[in-house]
């Protein structure tokens, strides 16, 4: 059971008491410890204690070569592994001024969007489970299996792929790839209507999420909350639109913006984003050009001395890679700007004056993945 730990807190009133939502808890989605200071049922203060899964990835990057670093970026936000890989690959390619083949750009964009759908599916099923509708968990996972099967056929692994490499892809996709992706899109378009039926239109869910956890646009910008959580507050921060990379400048899709900034808005943004991702894939899947799956790269990759920054849109926000290079085959300093770190810093602010049950809803809607916070 969770014990009460007495921490020295500066302004403690008579009736406040502390609760530990400890590192092991069904709804913190990872090892995060929240020390919540409560008055009755109202949350007065919240301090997250991170670092339970701090692996020193940034320090490890200083000793690894760039192709090896790809494997480390997978393990940051493992639910958008492809997108993290994409960031490092783009950075290296831009620094070396290498032009990747068109085929690679198409495939990378399609795989990114598939990864985004898979990540949002997992978010949906764990959000439903936190709210108490346990059936949602199984429906979301069942549909995610289709995407993971596509991945497994092409590159052999379901979750941590390390499939992109500076210059292109490790190997070409399976010949069945195009057909299976098209089948999946057809299948999922039907299923996403089920998702709306079971959870979105449910009056209980709407009562529990509307008006809860408000985050205004200025606060979102100030806290650096990007991704679906930021767009739900009206902060137009989609990197795919504002700083396009890959094929994003050539496809048509909408940037989903809501302005209420509550938990329900964050929920709706992700549901719509799944549909937008399907739209992007549909526009690209039929025209994948033939060609090489990688550009010609030297065996040992050395970036010229200088600083480089690359931003991509991960499933949870803006993921950035900052490299200070001194001309060697490993970076001098590599920093990952992780979206979940900034999203977590807003958790304290938006959960004040709410109840504990609301905290579970807010945490589920912010959708943080702890290894990304701790790096």
């Amino acid at each position: 059971m969770k014990e009460v730990i007495n921490l020295p807190v500066k302004n403690i009133e008579e009736e406040e008491y502390h609760i530990n939502m400890g590192p092991q808890h069904p709804s913190t989605h990872g090892v995060l410890r929240l020390v919540i200071s409560l008055q009755g049922e109202i949350v007065k203060n919240l301090k997250p204690h991170c670092g339970y899964i701090h692996r020193g990835i940034e320090k490890m990057c200083e000793k690894d070569t760039y192709p090896q670093i790809i494997h480390l970026t997978d393990r940051l936000d493992y639910l958008s592994a492809h997108i993290n890989n994409h960031a490092v690959c783009l950075l290296v390619e831009k620094a070396l001024e290498v032009e990747v083949p068109e085929r690679v750009k198409y495939l990378r964009t399609i795989l990114d969007e598939l990864n985004r759908i898979a990540s949002h599916q997992l978010w949906w099923c764990s959000f439903g489970m936190d709210m108490g509708g346990l059936t949602c968990f199984f429906y979301g996972l069942r549909d995610r299996e289709h995407i993971l099967d596509i991945f497994e056929e092409s590159f052999g692994s379901r979750l941590l792929h390390s499939y992109y490499t500076p210059g292109g892809l490790l190997q070409d996709v399976h010949p069945n790839f195009q057909k299976r992706v098209k089948d999946f899109i057809k299948y999922f378009r039907k299923k996403i209507k089920d998702y709306d039926d079971i959870l979105t239109g449910n009056i209980i869910l709407q009562e529990r999420t509307k008006g809860i956890g408000l985050l205004t646009k200025e606060e979102a910008i100030s806290y650096g909350v990007t991704g679906p959580s930021g767009r739900a507050s009206g902060f137009a921060c989609d990197v795919r639109k504002h700083h396009p990379y890959g094929m994003y400048s050539k496809v048509e899709f909408n940037e989903i913006l809501f302005h209420e900034g509550d938990t329900f808005a964050r929920y709706m943004v992700r549901m719509h984003e799944m549909r937008e991702s399907m739209k992007i894939i549909e526009q690209l899947i039929d025209d994948i050009p033939a060609g090489n799956h990688t550009a010609k790269m030297k065996a040992i990759i050395k970036l010229p001395a200088g600083e480089y920054y690359q931003r991509v849109e991960a499933a949870r926000g803006e993921f950035g890679v900052y490299v200070v290079s001194d001309g060697n085959k490993s970076p001098y300093r590599m920093k990952f700007r992780s979206p979940n770190f900034s999203n977590l810093s807003a958790l304290d602010h938006i959960s004040r004056e709410g109840k504990i049950a609301d905290l579970v809803a807010i945490g589920g809607s912010l959708d943080y993945v702890i290894p990304d916070i701790d790096r």
């Binding site: 059971m1 709804s27 489970m129 936190d130 108490g132 509708g133 968990f137 529990r208 049950a357």
Partner: protein
């Protein structure tokens, strides 16, 4: 009556006569009470085991998986295996807990549900007690369960159990009002509180059809309120696993936890059987007033099947609720009762009284 072939009254009366003839009245009474007590106990245990298995299978099918299928054919023996496991678990004693109350609490919950089962008719004559205030007795006795829950939360000496128990207590006490009022609506239609008379009165049509609109509304309200009464379904905040605590039965382990667990399923069964008896006709087959041929055909299915079939239908609805909807927050829950269900109930009673006065029912 066509269903007199399934009449248990003669059987029970002959047993009664045999006992009173062979023993002195005092001992005959004791023997009778023992027999009935044993039968109820066995019935309780069997139905409880079956319901746990049914819930796991139903929930599995709704979630696109299979459920228990390893232990025994189709997993039938699973619940018995779980029961053995719970029986053999270590009973953890809390140091600073109030020992007497801590040990009594699960028994109070079980006793309350036992007493309620005694009043329900399974077939004509198969009836443990036949009060003429049957419904009032059942409502009164099922309220005793709250005492057990509050005692459990208090005596655990644990802040979180106490919070969970208070929440449960508030929830159950509030929703009892709705349960009572919706049953009152049917009492107005039936004109009696005695269970056997209520069932007999549904001979030419179940009350839910006889009383049309007000009876239907009362049925819906009863279903919602009784799901909340038994801490099930979308109203299970007090024992939710993804919230902060495990509720009032946090500190219980082994057989005592099994009691709470069993009592929850049996409460669901009791509530479903009350709904089946009062609204859907109990053991009375599906008759339509005036269609004699149809009624004769319906009578061939034994009343016990009708009774269990209807109860199973209501139980399935309750399980359906639980696995579909997300959970309500405690303030939204109490809001629902006091601001919505209670006024609807009161208005419904007025409408039903009016309908009965004007004779607008079937």
């Amino acid at each position: 009556m066509a269903f007199s072939i399934y009449d248990f009254t003669s059987f029970t009366q002959s047993v009664d006569k045999f006992l009173y003839d062979s023993l002195s009245p005092f001992w005959a009474l004791i023997v009778e009470m023992t027999i009935i007590g044993l039968l109820v106990l066995v019935f309780y245990a069997l139905v409880g085991l079956f319901l746990v298995y049914a819930e796991r299978k139903v929930c599995a099918f709704m979630q696109n998986r299979v459920g228990p299928n390893r232990v025994g054919p189709y997993g039938i023996v699973q619940t018995i295996a779980d029961l053995f496991k719970l029986l053999m678990k270590e009973l953890i004693y809390i140091k600073n807990a109030d020992k007497l109350l801590f040990n009594i609490a699960p028994f109070i919950v079980i006793i309350a549900s036992f007493m309620a089962i005694a009043a329900i008719p399974f077939a004509k004559g198969l009836h443990a007690i036949d009060f003429d205030i049957g419904i009032l007795y059942v409502i009164a006795v099922s309220s005793l369960g709250v005492v057990g829950i509050l005692l459990a939360g208090w005596s655990s000496n644990n802040k979180y159990s106490l919070i969970g128990a208070m929440r449960s207590g508030a929830q159950i006490v509030s929703y009892e009002l709705s349960v009572g009022l919706s049953l009152l609506t049917i009492i107005i239609l039936a004109g009696t509180m005695q269970f056997s008379a209520i069932v007999a009165g549904q001979e030419n049509g179940w009350f839910i059809f006889k009383g049309h609109i007000p009876a239907f509304i009362a049925f819906i309200v009863f279903l919602i309120a009784s799901t909340a009464e038994t801490n099930r379904g979308p109203f299970d905040l007090a024992e939710a696993e993804s919230e902060l605590t495990a509720g009032f039965h946090t500190e219980y382990s082994g057989i005592k936890f099994a009691f709470f667990f069993l009592a929850e399923y049996m409460n669901m069964f009791i509530v479903a059987s009350i709904a089946a008896t009062v609204f859907l006709g109990g053991w009375m087959p599906f008759h339509v007033g005036g269609w004699e041929g149809f009624n004769r055909v319906m009578d061939f299915i034994p009343p016990v099947f009708w009774y269990f079939g209807k109860t199973a239908f209501v139980i399935f609805m309750m399980m359906w609720f639980k696995w579909t909807f997300p959970r309500l927050r405690i303030d939204q829950l109490l809001n629902l009762e006091w601001k919505y269900l209670l006024p609807i109930n009161l208005v419904n009673i007025l409408v039903m009284a009016f309908v009965v006065l004007m004779g607008w029912h079937f």
